[in-house]
C-alpha cells in the first residue's frame, strides 16, 4: 500500500571512512547518519532547515542534513562533528582549533546546537586565507545562519575570533 520500503544502498565517505547503508529512499541524511551509521553528534533542532543544528559538510560545503535525503548524497564525502578532530597517531585526538576555541571561550551551554556551529565555522575558517586577520563581517557571516537559544552568541563570535587567531598563528 505504501512505497516506504523502497530502499537503496548508499555509499558515503563519512569522516574519511567509507560507509554503506541500506536506507529507505525517503530517509533524510540526518537520520541516516544518526540511526544507520550511529553518528549521533549531528542533532536535529527544527527539521525544516532553519536552525542549522543538523549542519554537516557534504564535499566540504555546509548542508542542512534534515533537508537532504541520504540517497541524494550517494558517493559524497560527509564530515560530521565527530570528524572535526584529527587523530594524533598516539591513540588520542587533536581537536580542531574551533573546538578548542568553543571550550576556551564558553561558546556553548546545553551543547545541542553546537555541532552545527562547529562544522559550519570550521568549513568557513578553512576556506579562507588563514594568514589574514579575520574581520567582524566574516565573523558575523560564519555564525549568522545558526540558532542558539542558550548563549546569546557573544561567546560564539568570540570563539570564531579565537579560532581564527590560532589558525593564523599556525599558518605563520
Amino acid at each position: 500500500m505504501t512505497s516506504i520500503d523502497t530502499e537503496r544502498t548508499v555509499s558515503l565517505t563519512v569522516n574519511g571512512v567509507p560507509r554503506e547503508a541500506r536506507v529507505p529512499v525517503r530517509r533524510v541524511l540526518a537520520d541516516a547518519l544518526r540511526d544507520d551509521l550511529g553518528l549521533t553528534g549531528t542533532h536535529v533542532g527544527c527539521a525544516h532547515g532553519v536552525c542549522g543544528s543538523c549542519t554537516v559538510l557534504v564535499d566540504g560545503e555546509p548542508v542542512r542534513s534534515c533537508l537532504v535525503l541520504a540517497v541524494q548524497v550517494d558517493g559524497a564525502a560527509v564530515t560530521t562533528v565527530e570528524g572535526l578532530a584529527r587523530d594524533d597517531h598516539r591513540g588520542g585526538q587533536v581537536l580542531h582549533p574551533v573546538q578548542e576555541a568553543f571550550r576556551e571561550c564558553h561558546a556553548l551551554q546545553c551543547g545541542y546546537c553546537t555541532p552545527g556551529f562547529l562544522v559550519t565555522i570550521a568549513a568557513g575558517l578553512e576556506a579562507r586565507d588563514a594568514a589574514q586577520e579575520i574581520t567582524e563581517e566574516e565573523v558575523d557571516e560564519l555564525v549568522g545562519g545558526n540558532l542558539c537559544r542558550c548563549t546569546g552568541y557573544a561567546n560564539i563570535k568570540k570563539a570564531v575570533r579565537h579560532a581564527a587567531a590560532t589558525m593564523r598563528e599556525d599558518a605563520r
Binding site: V81, P115, L147
Partner: protein, 804 residues
C-alpha cells in the same frame, strides 16, 4: 597550596564531550527502540465523535495504537495539578490522551507505536478522528467576555483570582498628590530550547523494573509521577535526565502525557519505546508564557515618590493549569522590584483560553512584573518632568533597610523578605556604564544622521533559590576519585563544573579528581528540580555541606593515624597533613581505604584496611553511630528565597524610513551574590539578554481567532539569530546572601527579566509615543507613530518645545 577554584572562570568539564559529538541527548539513546508518534487535535475546541484506526492497521511496521479507551486506572484520570493553591479555585488538567474533548490544537488524541518514526507517522496520518467543533476562546478579551467558555463548569473562564495587598490602597491613592492609571499588554512567547522534549523507556520484565530517560528538569518528580500513574512501587522506577538540550522552564512541567504514555507502552509491549518531540509538536503541545494585560494605578508625590500602587493583571493560562498559579504569583510578588511601595494591592485573574498551556519560561512572570513596575517609573518621571534614573533612585530600598519585608507571600509560600542588596549601587553603576548623562548629546548626534535615538532602563529584583530543599552526596573512593551527586538536573548550566569547583574547594582536592552526576534517580533519589534560578543556590550549598561532612570524617580518621588533633590537620591537593609539619601526612585516598574496615583485600590498597593490618582491638571496627566509607550526604533547605538583583539599560536607534529598531547599546549590572564561576554567570546573562531582546522585538505566538497557531515553526516564530542580538556590556556587583553558607544567589533567569521594559522605555524615548504593548515590530512602530490618537510623551513635547 590548592589552586583557588571557587570564584574562578574554570573551563567547563561538560565541553569535552559536547564539542566532539559525544554528548548523550535523549534521542541518542535507544538506537533500536520502537518509535511513538501522536495524532494531535487540529481543532482548538471540539468534541471527539469517532476515532477510526482501520486505515492504519495495514501499515507495515505498526506495533500498537492507543486511545483514551486503552488507558486504565490512574492513567485514565486527569493529569495532576502539580502545585495546588487555595486561590486556584477551578484547576483543570487534561488527560494523557484526550477523553472525548480537546481544548487546544496539539492536544494528544491517539498514540501510535511502530518500528521507526517514519512508519509511526505513516500510521498516524491514516487514523481518522471525527470532531464536532465547539466555540473557541482565544485571547484575554474573549476569555474575559466569557460568551463561551473553555471548560463547561467554569463559565467565567476564571481559573484563579490571586490577590495580595499590604494595606488599604484606595484611601492611600485618594490621599496621593498625583495618580496615573494606564493599561498595557505583553504577548505570548515560549522557551523553544533547540532540543524538544523526549522520553525513552525500557521495561525489564524479569526484574519488574522500569528505566526511563526523559529530557526533563525534574527527574525525581517524573519518577514519582510515573510510579503513581503506572501503579509501580517507587523502587521499581528509575528516571534519568541525560544531556538535555536546553530547558528554560518548559521541561519543569511534568508528567507530560508522553512521559507516562511511552513507559506505559514499553511495559505493555515489553519493548523499548522512544518519542522525540518534533518542532511543530513543541510549538503546539508543550507550553508558552508571558501573555498578560495589566492595569496599573499609581499614586505619587511631587518628588515622584510612590505612595500607593494598585495593579490588576489578566493572565492567559491556556487550556489547563497543571503548574497552578505560579506564574501569576511571581508576577504579583516580583512586580514590586527594588522599590519602597508604601501600600500595594495586586489582583491577578488567571483565565482559560483554548490555547497551549502557560507555564514558566525563564523569568516566569518576572518580565511582566518588571514591565509593569518599570514602565510605571517611566510614566511618573514623564508626568513630573524628572529624569527617569532620578525617579528610580528616589524610590529605591536603601542598603540599610535589609532585611526588607514587602509583606507579600512568594511562590514558595514564604514571605517576600529581601535578604541583601545594594540597589543604589546598581543604578549608579548602570548610569555610568551606559553613559546616561550623555544621552541627549548622542540623540542630537543621531538626529544629525537621520536616526531617532532613545535610551531606557529597567531594574529588577529576582527571588532565587526557593526550597523546599536539595541534597548532595560526596564520596571519596580508594582510588582518590571524589564522586559527587545531586538530584536536580542540568540543561546547560555547567553544573558538572561549578559543583566540582565547590567540592574541590571545600575538600581540598584537585578538581580533576572530582566527578559530578546530576538528575539521575539511581544516584540521588531526593530532589526538587532545576528552575527558578535555584541550582547553584540549592545544590551548590548542599554539595558544600556534604563535602564539609566528608572533610570532618577524613580529618577524624587521619588524626588517629597521624596521632594528631583533627584541628591541627588540613587537606591540600588531596593530602591530609599536619599544618606546618612537612612529611606528617596521609593521602585522602588512603583515608578512604581506612574508613572501610575490610575482611577481604581485593587490591593492594585494600590490604591496609584488612583485619590483621589494623591493631586497635579495644573498639569495634565501626564505632556506634559511625558508618563505613568516606562519604557524606547532606541537604540544604532554606528558610526562604534569596533575592538577586540587577539593572539593564538599552540605547536604540530607529530608522524613520523603515522603523527598524537597532539596539546599539545594551548594558547590564548584575548582582547574584558570591559568584562560583564568573565565566558561567556571564554566559547566563548573555543568553538571558538574547531571550529578553527576542521577547521584546521578535517573538510572539500568533494565534488566530480559531485557535490555530499561525507561526508554529522557526521560519515564522523569530528566535533571534546572532544578527539580532546586541553586544552586551556587563558590570558586576557582589552582595553576598546571608541566608546560605556560600553566600550565593541565583543567576539563571536574570538576563531575560528587564528586556521588554528597558527596550519599551528606549523606543518610547526615541519616538515620543507611548509604548504600552510588547513585543513591538517595525510595522507596529510605524503604525504607532502614524496614529494621531497615539499618546505622546510629555518628554517629547518638552523636547519639541525646547528645540522649537
Amino acid at each position: 597550596m590548592t589552586t583557588k577554584l571557587f570564584g574562578e572562570p574554570v573551563r567547563r568539564r561538560e565541553d569535552a564531550r559536547l564539542i566532539t559529538g559525544r554528548g548523550r541527548y535523549l534521542d541518542d539513546i535507544g538506537a533500536g527502540a520502537l518509535a511513538a508518534a501522536f495524532v494531535r487535535s487540529p481543532h482548538a475546541h471540539a468534541r471527539i465523535t469517532d476515532v477510526d484506526v482501520e486505515g492504519a492497521l495495514d501499515v507495515e511496521g505498526l506495533v500498537a495504537i492507543y486511545t483514551y479507551e486503552d488507558l486504565t486506572g490512574p492513567m485514565a484520570e486527569p493529569l495532576p495539578v502539580l502545585i495546588p493553591h487555595p486561590q486556584l479555585h477551578a484547576p483543570r488538567t487534561g488527560h494523557p490522551l484526550a477523553d472525548g474533548v480537546v481544548n487546544h490544537v496539539g492536544e494528544p488524541v491517539v498514540m501510535v507505536v511502530a518500528t521507526d518514526r517514519y512508519v509511526a507517522e505513516d500510521a498516524a496520518e491514516r487514523i481518522v478522528v471525527s470532531y464536532e467543533e465547539l466555540p473557541v476562546v482565544v485571547g484575554i478579551d474573549t476569555a474575559r467576555a466569557a460568551e463561551s467558555c473553555v471548560h463547561p463548569d467554569v463559565p467565567d473562564n476564571v481559573a484563579a483570582r490571586h490577590h495580595q495587598e499590604t494595606g488599604d490602597v484606595e484611601p492611600a491613592l485618594a490621599a496621593s498628590p498625583h495618580t496615573l492609571t494606564f493599561t498595557q499588554t505583553i504577548e505570548r512567547s515560549a522557551c523553544t530550547p533547540l532540543e524538544g522534549k523526549g522520553v525513552h523507556a525500557r521495561w525489564d520484565p524479569d526484574d519488574g523494573s522500569l528505566r526511563v530517560y526523559s529530557s526533563t528538569q525534574a527527574s525525581t518528580s517524573v519518577r514519582a509521577a510515573i510510579a503513581a500513574k503506572l501503579e509501580l512501587s517507587l523502587d521499581r522506577v528509575e528516571v534519568i535526565a541525560p544531556d538535555v538540550g536546553g530547558g528554560f522552564g518548559v521541561k519543569i512541567v511534568h508528567p507530560w502525557p508522553e512521559e507516562l504514555l511511552v513507559p506505559m507502552a514499553a511495559m505493555r509491549l515489553g519493548r523499548e519505546v522512544k518519542w522525540a518531540e518534533d518542532r511543530r509538536e513543541h510549538f503546539v503541545s508543550s507550553a508558552h508564557e508571558r501573555g498578560q494585560r495589566q492595569q496599573v494605578t499609581v499614586g505619587f508625590d511631587d518628588d515622584g515618590r510612590l505612595t500607593a500602587l494598585d495593579v490588576h493583571v489578566w493572565h492567559d493560562n491556556g487550556a489547563y493549569t497543571p503548574y497552578g498559579i505560579i506564574v501569576p504569583i511571581i508576577t504579583a510578588t516580583q512586580l514590586v522590584g527594588p522599590y519602597v511601595i508604601p501600600v500595594y494591592r495586586v489582583v491577578v485573574e488567571s483565565l482559560y483560553t483554548n490555547t497551549v498551556i502557560v507555564t514558566p519560561y525563564r523569568g516566569a512572570g518576572r518580565p511582566q512584573g518588571c514591565f509593569a513596575m518599570e514602565r510605571t517609573m517611566d510614566r511618573i518621571a514623564d508626568s513630573l518632568g524628572l529624569d527617569r534614573a532620578e525617579v528610580r533612585r528616589r524610590n529605591l530600598i536603601t542598603p540599610d533597610q535589609f532585611p526588607y519585608d514587602h509583606h507579600l507571600t512568594f511562590q514558595d509560600g514564604r514571605p517576600v523578605v529581601y535578604d541583601s542588596g545594594d540597589y543604589p549601587g546598581l543604578l549608579e553603576k548602570l548610569t555610568a556604564l551606559v553613559g546616561w548623562e550623555s544621552v541627549e548629546e548622542r540623540r542630537a548626534e543621531a538626529t544629525g544622521r537621520g536616526k531617532l535615538l532613545g535610551a531606557g532602563m529597567a531594574l529588577y529584583v529576582e527571588g532565587t533559590g526557593p526550597g523546599p530543599y536539595e541534597g548532595g552526596h560526596v564520596q571519596v573512593l580508594g582510588s582518590g576519585k571524589v564522586l559527587v551527586s545531586t538530584g536536580l538536573t542540568s540543561q546547560g548550566q555547567g553544573h558538572e563544573t561549578v559543583f566540582a569547583q565547590i567540592v574541590a574547594s571545600e575538600l581540598g582536592v584537585p578538581m580533576e579528581d572530582v566527578e559530578v552526576h546530576t538528575g539521575d534517580t539511581r544516584r540521588f533519589g531526593y530532589a526538587v528540580g532545576t528552575f527558578a534560578s535555584r541550582a547553584a543556590v540549592m545544590s551548590g550549598n548542599a554539595v558544600a555541606l556534604a563535602a564539609r561532612g566528608v572533610r570532618e570524617k577524613a580529618l577524624r580518621i587521619a588524626a588517629e593515624v597521624l596521632e594528631a588533633d583533627p584541628s591541627d590537620l588540613e587537606i591540600d591537593e588531596g593530602l591530609v597533613q599536619v599544618k606546618g609539619t612537612p612529611g606528617a601526612s596521609i593521602p585522602l585516598r588512603t583515608v578512604a581505604v581506612l574508613s572501610n574496615p575490610l575482611r577481604y583485600a581485593f587490591d593492594e590498597a585494600a590490604k591496609q584496611a584488612t583485619q590483621f593490618a589494623t591493631h586497635d582491638d579495644t573498639k569495634p571496627p565501626v564505632a556506634p553511630g559511625d558508618a563505613p566509607g568516606l562519604e557524606h550526604r547532606d541537604y540544604y533547605s532554606p528558610l526562604r528565597s534569596t533575592f538577586a538583583s540587577g539593572a539593564h539599560a538599552a540605547v536604540v536607534e530607529i530608522d524613520p524610513q523603515t522603523w527598524e529598531i537597532d539596539v546599539v547599546q545594551y548594558a547590564v549590572v548584575h548582582d547574584c551574590g558570591n559568584v562560583v564561576n564568573p565565566m558561567i554567570v556571564e554566559g547566563q546573562v548573555h543568553g538571558g539578554v538574547a531571550q529578553g531582546v527576542g521577547g521584546a522585538l521578535y517573538e510572539r505566538m500568533a494565534y488566530d481567532a480559531d485557535g490555530q497557531l499561525q507561526n508554529a515553526s522557526f521560519m515564522d516564530f523569530l528566535v533571534p539569530y546572532a544578527s539580532e542580538v546586541p553586544d552586551v556590556v556587563i558590570d558586576h556587583q557582589q552582595t553576598p546572601s546571608p541566608l546560605n553558607p556560600l553566600g550565593i544567589k541565583g543567576a539563571g533567569e536574570a538576563g531575560v527579566i528587564p528586556g521588554s521594559a528597558a527596550l519599551a522605555s528606549a523606543i518610547e524615548d526615541a519616538v515620543g509615543r507611548r509604548v504600552a504593548a510588547m513585543p513591538i515590530s517595525p510595522s507596529e512602530l510605524y503604525d504607532l507613530v502614524r496614529d494621531d490618537t497615539a499618546e505622546r510623551t510629555a518628554a517629547s513635547a518638552r523636547r519639541t518645545g525646547a528645540t522649537a
